[in-house]
Protein backbone atom coordinates (compact mmCIF):
# COMPACT_ATOMS: atom_id res chain seq x y z
CA UNK A 1 0.00 0.00 0.00
CA UNK A 2 1.29 3.39 -0.90
CA UNK A 3 4.83 2.38 -1.83
CA UNK A 4 4.27 2.92 -5.49
CA UNK A 5 7.38 4.90 -6.28
CA UNK A 6 10.16 2.79 -4.88
CA UNK A 7 13.66 4.25 -5.13
CA UNK A 8 15.39 3.31 -8.37
CA UNK A 9 17.79 0.40 -8.06
CA UNK A 10 21.37 0.95 -9.08
CA UNK A 11 22.20 -0.49 -12.46
CA UNK A 12 18.60 -1.30 -13.30
CA UNK A 13 16.97 0.41 -16.22
CA UNK A 14 13.51 1.40 -15.22
CA UNK A 15 10.56 0.62 -17.38
CA UNK A 16 9.17 3.87 -18.74
CA UNK A 17 5.70 5.10 -17.82
CA UNK A 18 5.40 4.19 -14.16
CA UNK A 19 3.87 7.63 -13.97
CA UNK A 20 1.23 8.82 -16.39
CA UNK A 21 1.29 12.13 -18.20
CA UNK A 22 -2.10 12.31 -19.90
CA UNK A 23 -4.69 14.70 -21.25
CA UNK A 24 -7.92 13.77 -19.50
CA UNK A 25 -11.42 14.91 -20.42
CA UNK A 26 -13.38 16.95 -17.90
CA UNK A 27 -16.66 15.24 -16.95
CA UNK A 28 -17.86 17.94 -14.56
CA UNK A 29 -16.55 20.88 -12.58
CA UNK A 30 -19.17 21.96 -10.05
CA UNK A 31 -19.38 23.68 -6.69
CA UNK A 32 -19.85 21.39 -3.68
CA UNK A 33 -20.56 24.31 -1.36
CA UNK A 34 -19.94 28.03 -1.19
CA UNK A 35 -16.18 27.59 -1.16
CA UNK A 36 -15.11 24.39 -2.87
CA UNK A 37 -15.32 22.95 -6.37
CA UNK A 38 -15.19 19.32 -7.40
CA UNK A 39 -13.47 18.50 -10.68
CA UNK A 40 -14.24 15.09 -12.19
CA UNK A 41 -12.05 13.75 -15.01
CA UNK A 42 -12.52 10.70 -17.21
CA UNK A 43 -9.48 8.51 -16.60
CA UNK A 44 -8.28 5.17 -17.96
CA UNK A 45 -8.47 2.09 -15.73
CA UNK A 46 -4.71 1.52 -15.68
CA UNK A 47 -4.24 5.00 -14.22
CA UNK A 48 -7.02 4.67 -11.63
CA UNK A 49 -5.74 1.28 -10.52
CA UNK A 50 -2.40 2.85 -9.58
CA UNK A 51 -3.99 5.53 -7.37
CA UNK A 52 -3.74 5.33 -3.57
CA UNK A 53 -5.27 7.52 -0.90
CA UNK A 54 -2.87 10.33 -0.04
CA UNK A 55 -1.18 10.46 -3.43
CA UNK A 56 -1.39 13.51 -5.68
CA UNK A 57 -1.44 14.56 -9.29
CA UNK A 58 0.52 17.45 -10.77
CA UNK A 59 -1.97 19.43 -12.84
CA UNK A 60 -1.06 21.54 -15.85
CA UNK A 61 -3.64 24.25 -15.24
CA UNK A 62 -4.72 25.71 -18.58
CA UNK A 63 -4.00 29.20 -19.84
CA UNK A 64 -7.62 30.28 -19.96
CA UNK A 65 -9.89 33.16 -18.93
CA UNK A 66 -6.97 35.59 -18.75
CA UNK A 67 -5.10 33.34 -16.30
CA UNK A 68 -1.55 32.34 -17.20
CA UNK A 69 -0.41 29.78 -14.63
CA UNK A 70 3.04 28.49 -15.54
CA UNK A 71 4.19 25.73 -13.22
CA UNK A 72 2.05 22.66 -12.59
CA UNK A 73 -0.06 22.62 -9.41
CA UNK A 74 0.08 19.61 -7.09
CA UNK A 75 -3.37 18.47 -5.96
CA UNK A 76 -4.22 15.52 -3.76
CA UNK A 77 -6.61 12.89 -5.08
CA UNK A 78 -10.13 13.40 -3.75
CA UNK A 79 -11.55 10.25 -5.27
CA UNK A 80 -10.59 7.53 -7.74
CA UNK A 81 -13.30 5.28 -9.06
CA UNK A 82 -12.21 2.47 -11.39
CA UNK A 83 -15.85 1.34 -11.63
CA UNK A 84 -16.99 4.62 -13.20
CA UNK A 85 -13.66 5.56 -14.77
CA UNK A 86 -13.38 8.85 -12.90
CA UNK A 87 -10.68 10.75 -11.05
CA UNK A 88 -11.83 13.54 -8.71
CA UNK A 89 -10.17 16.62 -7.23
CA UNK A 90 -11.52 19.07 -4.70
CA UNK A 91 -10.23 22.64 -4.80
CA UNK A 92 -10.84 26.12 -3.53
CA UNK A 93 -10.30 28.98 -5.95
CA UNK A 94 -7.30 30.80 -4.54
CA UNK A 95 -4.66 31.71 -7.13
CA UNK A 96 -4.00 31.75 -10.86
CA UNK A 97 -3.92 27.94 -11.08
CA UNK A 98 -7.23 27.27 -9.37
CA UNK A 99 -8.86 30.27 -11.09
CA UNK A 100 -7.87 28.64 -14.39
CA UNK A 101 -9.28 25.27 -13.25
CA UNK A 102 -12.54 27.05 -12.41
CA UNK A 103 -12.97 27.90 -16.11
CA UNK A 104 -12.90 24.24 -17.20
CA UNK A 105 -16.15 22.72 -18.38
CA UNK A 106 -17.34 19.30 -19.52
CA UNK A 107 -15.44 18.17 -22.61
CA UNK A 108 -12.37 20.34 -21.93
CA UNK A 109 -9.00 18.67 -21.52
CA UNK A 110 -6.66 18.83 -18.55
CA UNK A 111 -3.13 17.46 -18.61
CA UNK A 112 -2.29 15.51 -15.46
CA UNK A 113 0.91 13.88 -14.22
CA UNK A 114 0.67 11.12 -11.67
CA UNK A 115 -0.24 9.45 -9.47
CA UNK A 116 2.76 10.78 -7.53
CA UNK A 117 4.19 10.35 -4.07
CA UNK A 118 3.54 7.88 -1.29
CA UNK A 119 0.02 7.41 0.03
CA UNK A 120 -1.29 6.59 3.49
CA UNK A 121 -0.15 3.41 5.18
CA UNK A 122 -2.79 1.12 6.68
CA UNK A 123 -0.94 -1.66 8.50
CA UNK A 124 -2.60 -5.06 8.72
CA UNK A 125 -3.23 -4.77 12.47
CA UNK A 126 -4.68 -1.27 12.33
CA UNK A 127 -8.38 -1.99 12.82
CA UNK A 128 -9.76 1.33 14.06
CA UNK A 129 -8.54 4.35 12.14
CA UNK A 130 -9.24 7.91 13.25
CA UNK A 131 -8.90 10.83 10.87
CA UNK A 132 -9.01 14.42 12.01
CA UNK A 133 -9.14 17.18 9.42
CA UNK A 134 -10.41 20.58 8.55
CA UNK A 135 -11.24 22.42 5.34
CA UNK A 136 -9.56 21.15 2.23
CA UNK A 137 -7.60 18.71 4.40
CA UNK A 138 -10.76 16.63 4.31
CA UNK A 139 -10.33 16.27 0.55
CA UNK A 140 -6.96 14.62 1.00
CA UNK A 141 -8.32 12.29 3.67
CA UNK A 142 -11.57 11.40 1.86
CA UNK A 143 -10.08 8.56 -0.23
CA UNK A 144 -8.73 7.04 3.00
CA UNK A 145 -12.34 6.28 3.90
CA UNK A 146 -12.71 4.38 0.64
CA UNK A 147 -9.56 2.36 1.32
CA UNK A 148 -10.64 1.68 4.90
CA UNK A 149 -13.98 0.37 3.70
CA UNK A 150 -12.37 -1.77 1.00
CA UNK A 151 -10.09 -3.34 3.61
CA UNK A 152 -12.86 -3.78 6.18
CA UNK A 153 -11.42 -1.35 8.72
CA UNK A 154 -13.41 0.79 11.07
CA UNK A 155 -13.00 4.53 10.52
CA UNK A 156 -13.97 7.50 12.64
CA UNK A 157 -13.81 10.85 10.83
CA UNK A 158 -13.58 13.97 12.97
CA UNK A 159 -14.44 16.77 10.58
CA UNK A 160 -13.83 20.40 11.49
CA UNK A 161 -14.98 23.62 9.82
CA UNK A 162 -15.92 27.21 10.54
CA UNK A 163 -19.64 26.55 9.97
CA UNK A 164 -21.73 23.44 9.56
CA UNK A 165 -22.60 24.50 5.99
CA UNK A 166 -18.98 24.34 4.84
CA UNK A 167 -18.32 20.94 6.40
CA UNK A 168 -17.18 18.79 3.55
CA UNK A 169 -17.20 15.13 2.71
CA UNK A 170 -19.54 14.27 5.59
CA UNK A 171 -21.92 12.34 3.36
CA UNK A 172 -19.00 10.76 1.56
CA UNK A 173 -17.55 9.51 4.86
CA UNK A 174 -20.97 8.22 5.99
CA UNK A 175 -21.46 6.43 2.65
CA UNK A 176 -18.13 4.72 3.23
CA UNK A 177 -19.42 3.45 6.56
CA UNK A 178 -17.42 5.82 8.72
CA UNK A 179 -18.55 7.19 12.06
CA UNK A 180 -18.61 10.95 11.61
CA UNK A 181 -18.03 13.49 14.37
CA UNK A 182 -18.47 17.12 13.32
CA UNK A 183 -16.97 20.05 15.16
CA UNK A 184 -17.34 23.70 14.17
CA UNK A 185 -16.08 27.11 15.23
CA UNK A 186 -19.68 28.36 15.14
CA UNK A 187 -20.86 26.06 17.91
CA UNK A 188 -17.56 26.21 19.77
CA UNK A 189 -16.78 22.51 19.42
CA UNK A 190 -13.69 22.83 17.20
CA UNK A 191 -11.31 23.86 19.98
CA UNK A 192 -8.34 21.57 20.46
CA UNK A 193 -9.44 20.94 24.04
CA UNK A 194 -12.79 19.63 22.86
CA UNK A 195 -11.28 17.57 20.03
CA UNK A 196 -8.79 16.12 22.50
CA UNK A 197 -11.69 15.06 24.70
CA UNK A 198 -13.46 13.42 21.73
CA UNK A 199 -10.34 11.46 20.82
CA UNK A 200 -9.61 10.46 24.43
CA UNK A 201 -13.12 9.01 24.63
CA UNK A 202 -12.53 7.04 21.42
CA UNK A 203 -9.22 5.72 22.73
CA UNK A 204 -10.83 4.70 26.01
CA UNK A 205 -14.07 3.20 24.63
CA UNK A 206 -12.99 1.55 21.39
CA UNK A 207 -9.23 1.70 21.17
CA UNK A 208 -7.53 3.57 18.31
CA UNK A 209 -4.83 2.00 16.10
CA UNK A 210 -3.80 4.95 13.93
CA UNK A 211 -4.33 8.68 13.47
CA UNK A 212 -4.46 10.49 10.14
CA UNK A 213 -4.50 14.21 9.55
CA UNK A 214 -3.74 16.90 7.02
CA UNK A 215 -3.18 20.61 6.82
CA UNK A 216 -3.50 21.85 10.40
CA UNK A 217 -0.62 22.71 12.68
CA UNK A 218 -2.82 22.57 15.79
CA UNK A 219 -4.13 19.12 14.91
CA UNK A 220 -0.60 17.91 14.21
CA UNK A 221 0.51 19.01 17.68
CA UNK A 222 -2.55 17.48 19.31
CA UNK A 223 -2.18 14.14 17.53
CA UNK A 224 1.56 14.03 18.25
CA UNK A 225 0.76 14.52 21.93
CA UNK A 226 -2.02 11.92 21.97
CA UNK A 227 0.10 9.52 19.90
CA UNK A 228 2.96 9.74 22.38
CA UNK A 229 0.60 9.48 25.35
CA UNK A 230 -1.07 6.28 24.13
CA UNK A 231 1.57 4.82 21.81
CA UNK A 232 -0.64 5.27 18.75
CA UNK A 233 1.09 5.71 15.36
CA UNK A 234 -0.10 8.25 12.86
CA UNK A 235 0.40 9.82 9.47
CA UNK A 236 0.12 13.34 8.15
CA UNK A 237 -0.23 14.60 4.59
CA UNK A 238 1.76 17.80 4.01
CA UNK A 239 1.96 20.46 1.33
CA UNK A 240 4.74 22.56 -0.12
CA UNK A 241 5.27 24.65 -3.23
CA UNK A 242 6.52 22.35 -5.97
CA UNK A 243 8.14 22.69 -9.34
CA UNK A 244 8.75 19.27 -10.93
CA UNK A 245 6.61 17.07 -8.64
CA UNK A 246 8.88 14.11 -9.39
CA UNK A 247 11.78 14.66 -7.00
CA UNK A 248 14.30 16.22 -9.37
CA UNK A 249 14.30 19.85 -8.31
CA UNK A 250 14.32 19.66 -4.49
CA UNK A 251 12.03 22.69 -4.26
CA UNK A 252 9.38 21.08 -2.05
CA UNK A 253 11.40 20.05 0.99
CA UNK A 254 10.19 20.31 4.59
CA UNK A 255 12.07 19.63 7.82
CA UNK A 256 11.51 16.39 9.76
CA UNK A 257 13.04 14.89 12.89
CA UNK A 258 14.49 11.45 12.24
CA UNK A 259 16.51 9.71 14.97
CA UNK A 260 17.02 13.02 16.78
CA UNK A 261 18.36 14.70 13.65
CA UNK A 262 16.68 17.40 11.57
CA UNK A 263 16.46 16.29 7.93
CA UNK A 264 14.98 17.88 4.81
CA UNK A 265 12.66 15.57 2.89
CA UNK A 266 10.89 16.14 -0.42
CA UNK A 267 7.12 16.37 -0.05
CA UNK A 268 6.64 15.08 -3.61
CA UNK A 269 8.83 12.04 -3.21
CA UNK A 270 9.34 10.98 0.41
CA UNK A 271 5.77 12.25 1.02
CA UNK A 272 3.29 13.82 0.76
CA UNK A 273 2.32 11.47 3.62
CA UNK A 274 4.77 11.34 6.51
CA UNK A 275 5.07 9.81 9.96
CA UNK A 276 3.18 12.11 12.30
CA UNK A 277 5.88 12.07 15.00
CA UNK A 278 8.62 12.98 12.51
CA UNK A 279 6.67 15.94 11.12
CA UNK A 280 7.56 19.36 12.48
CA UNK A 281 5.00 22.05 13.26
CA UNK A 282 5.18 25.12 11.08
Amino acid sequence: MGKVLSPPLAGTRLPAADVFERDLVVVSNDPVNGEYMRLALKAPLELLERCRAGQFFHLLCPVIGGETPYLRRPMSIYGFFPETGELHFLYKVAGAGTRALFHLGPGDMLNVLGPLGLGFRIEDDWQHLVLVARGVGLATLAPLALEARNRGRRLTAICSARHADVLMSIDYFRDMGADVVTVTDADGTSSMEHVEGVIETLVEKRGVDAFYTCGSNRMLLLLQKLGRRHGIPGEIALEQQMACGLGMCHCCVRPFMQDGKRVQLRVCREGPVFDIQEAMPW
Binding site: P8, G11, T12, T68, Y70, M248
Partner: protein
Amino acid sequence: MVDMSVDIAGLKLKNPVMPASGTFSEELAEVFDIECLGAHVTKTITRDLRSGNPTPRVCEVDGSMLNSIGIPSKGVRYFLEKTAPFYSAYNTPLVVSISGNTADEFEALCAEVSVDGVAAIEVNVSCPNIEEDGKAFAIRPSSTYEVMSRLRKATRLPLWAKLTPNTGETPEVARAAEEGGADALVVANTLLAMAIDTRTRRPKLGNLMGGLSGPSLKPIALRMAYQCAKATRIPIIGCGGISTADDVLEFLIAGASAVQVGTATFINPTAMVSIIAELEGRLSREGVSSVREIIGTVIDDEQKSGVVFMEAAP
Protein backbone atom coordinates in the same frame (compact mmCIF):
# COMPACT_ATOMS: atom_id res chain seq x y z
CA MET B 1 17.04 9.75 -41.96
CA VAL B 2 18.54 12.82 -40.38
CA ASP B 3 21.91 12.37 -38.70
CA MET B 4 21.14 13.87 -35.29
CA SER B 5 24.55 13.26 -33.74
CA VAL B 6 26.79 16.06 -32.61
CA ASP B 7 30.33 16.20 -31.32
CA ILE B 8 31.22 18.08 -28.15
CA ALA B 9 35.02 18.24 -28.01
CA GLY B 10 35.44 14.59 -28.98
CA LEU B 11 32.42 13.33 -27.06
CA LYS B 12 29.85 12.04 -29.52
CA LEU B 13 26.19 12.60 -28.57
CA LYS B 14 23.43 10.76 -30.44
CA ASN B 15 21.43 13.98 -30.56
CA PRO B 16 21.96 17.54 -29.38
CA VAL B 17 19.34 17.53 -26.58
CA MET B 18 20.26 16.91 -22.95
CA PRO B 19 18.85 17.98 -19.59
CA ALA B 20 20.06 21.04 -17.72
CA SER B 21 21.64 20.29 -14.38
CA GLY B 22 19.17 20.44 -11.51
CA THR B 23 16.18 19.52 -13.66
CA PHE B 24 17.05 15.88 -14.13
CA SER B 25 17.56 12.87 -11.90
CA GLU B 26 16.94 9.14 -11.68
CA GLU B 27 13.24 9.83 -11.05
CA LEU B 28 12.67 11.02 -14.63
CA ALA B 29 13.42 7.47 -15.77
CA GLU B 30 10.01 6.55 -14.33
CA VAL B 31 8.33 8.79 -16.89
CA PHE B 32 10.18 7.90 -20.11
CA ASP B 33 13.17 5.92 -21.33
CA ILE B 34 16.01 8.37 -20.70
CA GLU B 35 18.23 6.45 -23.12
CA CYS B 36 16.75 8.68 -25.85
CA LEU B 37 18.66 11.73 -24.57
CA GLY B 38 21.91 13.07 -25.99
CA ALA B 39 23.50 13.00 -22.52
CA HIS B 40 22.58 12.65 -18.86
CA VAL B 41 23.55 15.63 -16.73
CA THR B 42 23.40 15.25 -12.95
CA LYS B 43 22.24 17.75 -10.40
CA THR B 44 25.25 19.69 -9.13
CA ILE B 45 27.13 17.81 -6.44
CA THR B 46 29.48 19.19 -3.82
CA ARG B 47 32.10 17.28 -1.82
CA ASP B 48 30.24 17.64 1.44
CA LEU B 49 26.64 17.24 2.48
CA ARG B 50 24.62 20.40 2.01
CA SER B 51 21.02 20.85 3.09
CA GLY B 52 20.15 23.71 0.75
CA ASN B 53 18.23 26.95 1.20
CA PRO B 54 15.12 27.79 3.26
CA THR B 55 11.68 27.39 1.67
CA PRO B 56 9.87 28.58 -0.36
CA ARG B 57 12.50 27.56 -2.88
CA VAL B 58 10.40 28.23 -5.94
CA CYS B 59 7.87 30.74 -7.23
CA GLU B 60 6.48 31.51 -10.62
CA VAL B 61 6.63 34.81 -12.45
CA ASP B 62 4.88 35.54 -15.74
CA GLY B 63 5.67 32.58 -17.97
CA SER B 64 8.83 31.64 -16.08
CA MET B 65 10.05 30.72 -12.60
CA LEU B 66 12.48 31.70 -9.89
CA ASN B 67 14.32 29.17 -7.79
CA SER B 68 16.62 29.35 -4.85
CA ILE B 69 17.39 25.76 -3.99
CA GLY B 70 20.94 26.22 -2.77
CA ILE B 71 22.56 23.05 -4.16
CA PRO B 72 21.46 20.49 -1.57
CA SER B 73 23.94 17.64 -2.02
CA LYS B 74 24.39 14.18 -0.64
CA GLY B 75 28.12 14.52 -1.21
CA VAL B 76 30.64 12.85 -3.46
CA ARG B 77 30.40 9.41 -1.83
CA TYR B 78 26.71 9.16 -2.60
CA PHE B 79 27.44 10.10 -6.19
CA LEU B 80 30.12 7.43 -6.55
CA GLU B 81 28.16 4.70 -4.75
CA LYS B 82 24.61 5.37 -5.98
CA THR B 83 24.27 7.90 -8.76
CA ALA B 84 27.06 6.80 -11.08
CA PRO B 85 26.10 3.07 -10.85
CA PHE B 86 22.46 3.94 -11.67
CA TYR B 87 23.46 5.64 -14.91
CA SER B 88 25.93 2.88 -15.81
CA ALA B 89 22.95 0.86 -17.07
CA TYR B 90 22.61 3.36 -19.92
CA ASN B 91 24.83 3.88 -22.95
CA THR B 92 24.11 7.61 -22.92
CA PRO B 93 27.14 9.65 -21.79
CA LEU B 94 27.00 10.76 -18.16
CA VAL B 95 27.99 14.34 -17.39
CA VAL B 96 28.50 15.15 -13.73
CA SER B 97 27.94 18.71 -12.59
CA ILE B 98 30.25 19.85 -9.78
CA SER B 99 30.50 22.88 -7.57
CA GLY B 100 32.81 24.14 -4.86
CA ASN B 101 33.11 27.17 -2.64
CA THR B 102 36.84 27.46 -3.28
CA ALA B 103 39.23 26.52 -6.07
CA ASP B 104 40.71 23.86 -3.76
CA GLU B 105 37.32 22.25 -3.19
CA PHE B 106 36.58 22.33 -6.92
CA GLU B 107 39.92 20.73 -7.73
CA ALA B 108 39.55 17.92 -5.19
CA LEU B 109 35.99 17.12 -6.29
CA CYS B 110 36.97 17.21 -9.94
CA ALA B 111 39.61 14.53 -9.33
CA GLU B 112 37.23 12.45 -7.18
CA VAL B 113 34.48 12.28 -9.83
CA SER B 114 36.89 11.45 -12.65
CA VAL B 115 35.91 7.79 -12.61
CA ASP B 116 34.86 5.16 -15.15
CA GLY B 117 31.38 5.87 -16.39
CA VAL B 118 31.71 9.65 -16.28
CA ALA B 119 32.06 11.06 -19.80
CA ALA B 120 32.50 14.75 -18.97
CA ILE B 121 32.47 17.14 -16.03
CA GLU B 122 30.27 20.21 -16.07
CA VAL B 123 31.81 22.86 -13.87
CA ASN B 124 29.20 25.06 -12.22
CA VAL B 125 31.37 28.17 -12.05
CA SER B 126 28.19 30.20 -11.55
CA CYS B 127 28.29 29.49 -7.82
CA PRO B 128 29.74 31.94 -5.27
CA ASN B 129 33.49 31.91 -4.64
CA ILE B 130 33.72 32.43 -0.90
CA GLU B 131 37.43 33.29 -1.05
CA GLU B 132 36.79 36.30 -3.22
CA ASP B 133 33.90 38.48 -1.94
CA GLY B 134 31.31 35.76 -2.71
CA LYS B 135 30.94 36.68 -6.37
CA ALA B 136 30.53 33.73 -8.71
CA PHE B 137 33.76 32.47 -10.27
CA ALA B 138 32.35 33.16 -13.73
CA ILE B 139 31.53 36.80 -13.01
CA ARG B 140 35.13 37.77 -13.77
CA PRO B 141 37.62 36.48 -16.35
CA SER B 142 40.45 36.24 -13.78
CA SER B 143 38.63 33.95 -11.32
CA THR B 144 37.23 31.92 -14.21
CA TYR B 145 40.71 31.39 -15.62
CA GLU B 146 42.15 30.48 -12.24
CA VAL B 147 39.57 27.84 -11.34
CA MET B 148 39.48 26.32 -14.83
CA SER B 149 43.26 26.00 -15.04
CA ARG B 150 43.29 24.30 -11.61
CA LEU B 151 40.58 21.89 -12.80
CA ARG B 152 42.39 21.23 -16.05
CA LYS B 153 45.26 19.73 -14.06
CA ALA B 154 42.90 17.66 -11.92
CA THR B 155 41.25 15.57 -14.65
CA ARG B 156 41.69 14.18 -18.13
CA LEU B 157 37.96 14.20 -18.75
CA PRO B 158 36.37 16.90 -20.91
CA LEU B 159 35.51 19.99 -18.85
CA TRP B 160 32.38 21.98 -19.63
CA ALA B 161 32.27 25.38 -17.94
CA LYS B 162 28.73 26.53 -17.12
CA LEU B 163 28.72 30.30 -17.36
CA THR B 164 26.50 32.77 -15.57
CA PRO B 165 24.38 35.52 -17.15
CA ASN B 166 25.14 37.66 -14.09
CA THR B 167 28.38 38.89 -15.62
CA GLY B 168 28.93 42.02 -17.67
CA GLU B 169 31.92 40.43 -19.39
CA THR B 170 30.52 37.47 -21.30
CA PRO B 171 33.10 37.20 -24.13
CA GLU B 172 36.02 37.83 -21.77
CA VAL B 173 34.81 35.18 -19.32
CA ALA B 174 34.24 32.74 -22.19
CA ARG B 175 37.78 33.27 -23.47
CA ALA B 176 39.18 32.95 -19.94
CA ALA B 177 37.41 29.60 -19.54
CA GLU B 178 38.79 28.45 -22.89
CA GLU B 179 42.32 29.56 -22.03
CA GLY B 180 42.02 27.93 -18.63
CA GLY B 181 41.30 24.60 -20.31
CA ALA B 182 37.54 24.31 -20.79
CA ASP B 183 36.61 21.94 -23.61
CA ALA B 184 33.11 23.37 -23.99
CA LEU B 185 30.91 26.10 -22.54
CA VAL B 186 27.38 25.70 -21.22
CA VAL B 187 25.64 29.04 -21.77
CA ALA B 188 24.09 29.78 -19.38
CA ASN B 189 22.89 29.34 -15.81
CA THR B 190 19.96 31.27 -14.24
CA LEU B 191 19.78 35.04 -13.88
CA LEU B 192 19.61 36.59 -10.42
CA ALA B 193 16.07 37.84 -9.84
CA MET B 194 13.49 38.67 -7.20
CA ALA B 195 9.73 38.62 -6.60
CA ILE B 196 7.69 40.11 -3.75
CA ASP B 197 4.21 39.19 -2.54
CA THR B 198 2.46 42.56 -2.48
CA ARG B 199 -0.08 41.36 0.09
CA THR B 200 2.42 40.19 2.70
CA ARG B 201 5.27 42.44 1.43
CA ARG B 202 7.58 39.48 1.84
CA PRO B 203 9.94 38.18 -0.85
CA LYS B 204 8.39 35.15 -2.53
CA LEU B 205 11.57 33.11 -2.05
CA GLY B 206 12.86 32.05 1.36
CA ASN B 207 16.36 33.08 0.32
CA LEU B 208 15.26 36.58 -0.76
CA MET B 209 16.50 36.22 -4.35
CA GLY B 210 16.84 33.38 -6.80
CA GLY B 211 17.57 32.41 -10.36
CA LEU B 212 15.20 33.17 -13.23
CA SER B 213 14.66 30.33 -15.68
CA GLY B 214 12.15 29.53 -18.37
CA PRO B 215 11.10 31.24 -21.60
CA SER B 216 11.79 34.79 -20.42
CA LEU B 217 15.48 33.90 -19.99
CA LYS B 218 15.81 32.58 -23.53
CA PRO B 219 16.73 35.77 -25.42
CA ILE B 220 19.43 36.54 -22.85
CA ALA B 221 20.92 33.03 -23.02
CA LEU B 222 20.71 33.11 -26.81
CA ARG B 223 22.60 36.41 -26.96
CA MET B 224 25.27 34.95 -24.69
CA ALA B 225 25.52 31.69 -26.65
CA TYR B 226 26.00 33.69 -29.84
CA GLN B 227 28.68 35.89 -28.24
CA CYS B 228 30.50 32.87 -26.75
CA ALA B 229 30.45 31.07 -30.10
CA LYS B 230 32.00 34.15 -31.69
CA ALA B 231 34.51 34.67 -28.88
CA THR B 232 35.92 31.13 -28.63
CA ARG B 233 36.79 28.09 -30.73
CA ILE B 234 35.26 25.52 -28.34
CA PRO B 235 31.74 24.07 -28.64
CA ILE B 236 28.86 25.91 -27.02
CA ILE B 237 25.96 24.14 -25.32
CA GLY B 238 22.99 26.49 -25.23
CA CYS B 239 20.82 26.59 -22.12
CA GLY B 240 18.06 28.93 -21.08
CA GLY B 241 14.33 28.78 -21.64
CA ILE B 242 14.44 26.14 -24.37
CA SER B 243 11.06 24.40 -24.61
CA THR B 244 10.45 23.67 -28.31
CA ALA B 245 12.34 22.32 -31.33
CA ASP B 246 12.24 25.84 -32.75
CA ASP B 247 14.07 27.09 -29.65
CA VAL B 248 16.73 24.41 -30.22
CA LEU B 249 17.18 25.50 -33.83
CA GLU B 250 17.53 29.10 -32.71
CA PHE B 251 20.45 28.18 -30.44
CA LEU B 252 22.06 25.93 -33.06
CA ILE B 253 21.84 28.67 -35.67
CA ALA B 254 23.38 31.10 -33.17
CA GLY B 255 26.38 28.79 -32.89
CA ALA B 256 25.56 26.24 -30.20
CA SER B 257 26.48 22.61 -30.95
CA ALA B 258 23.97 21.19 -28.48
CA VAL B 259 21.40 22.39 -25.98
CA GLN B 260 20.17 21.74 -22.48
CA VAL B 261 16.48 21.71 -21.59
CA GLY B 262 15.62 22.56 -18.00
CA THR B 263 12.51 24.33 -16.79
CA ALA B 264 10.43 22.96 -19.69
CA THR B 265 10.79 19.50 -18.13
CA PHE B 266 9.06 20.78 -14.98
CA ILE B 267 6.06 21.80 -17.06
CA ASN B 268 6.08 18.72 -19.30
CA PRO B 269 8.29 15.91 -18.03
CA THR B 270 8.44 14.45 -21.54
CA ALA B 271 9.42 17.80 -23.11
CA MET B 272 12.85 16.55 -24.22
CA VAL B 273 11.33 13.50 -25.92
CA SER B 274 8.95 15.71 -27.91
CA ILE B 275 11.66 18.22 -28.73
CA ILE B 276 13.98 15.52 -30.15
CA ALA B 277 11.17 14.07 -32.28
CA GLU B 278 10.02 17.49 -33.49
CA LEU B 279 13.56 18.56 -34.30
CA GLU B 280 14.24 15.42 -36.33
CA GLY B 281 10.91 15.78 -38.13
CA ARG B 282 11.52 19.40 -38.99
CA LEU B 283 15.07 18.80 -40.28
CA SER B 284 13.82 15.85 -42.31
CA ARG B 285 11.03 17.93 -43.88
CA GLU B 286 13.54 20.65 -44.71
CA GLY B 287 15.87 18.13 -46.37
CA VAL B 288 18.70 18.63 -43.89
CA SER B 289 20.82 15.47 -43.71
CA SER B 290 22.72 16.32 -40.52
CA VAL B 291 21.83 18.54 -37.60
CA ARG B 292 25.46 19.67 -37.62
CA GLU B 293 24.80 21.57 -40.87
CA ILE B 294 22.69 24.01 -38.88
CA ILE B 295 25.29 24.99 -36.29
CA GLY B 296 26.46 28.58 -36.53
CA THR B 297 24.53 29.39 -39.70
CA VAL B 298 23.13 32.68 -38.46
CA ILE B 299 23.12 35.28 -41.21
CA ASP B 300 24.59 38.20 -39.30
CA ASP B 301 26.58 39.71 -42.17
CA GLU B 302 29.90 41.22 -41.24
CA GLN B 303 29.29 42.85 -37.90
CA LYS B 304 31.99 44.77 -36.11
CA SER B 305 33.24 43.04 -32.98
CA GLY B 306 32.03 46.01 -30.96
CA VAL B 307 28.51 45.10 -32.07
CA VAL B 308 28.89 41.32 -31.66
CA PHE B 309 30.27 41.64 -28.14
CA MET B 310 28.20 44.55 -26.88
CA GLU B 311 27.51 44.46 -23.14
CA ALA B 312 24.80 47.10 -23.04
CA ALA B 313 21.57 47.32 -25.00
CA PRO B 314 22.12 49.77 -27.84
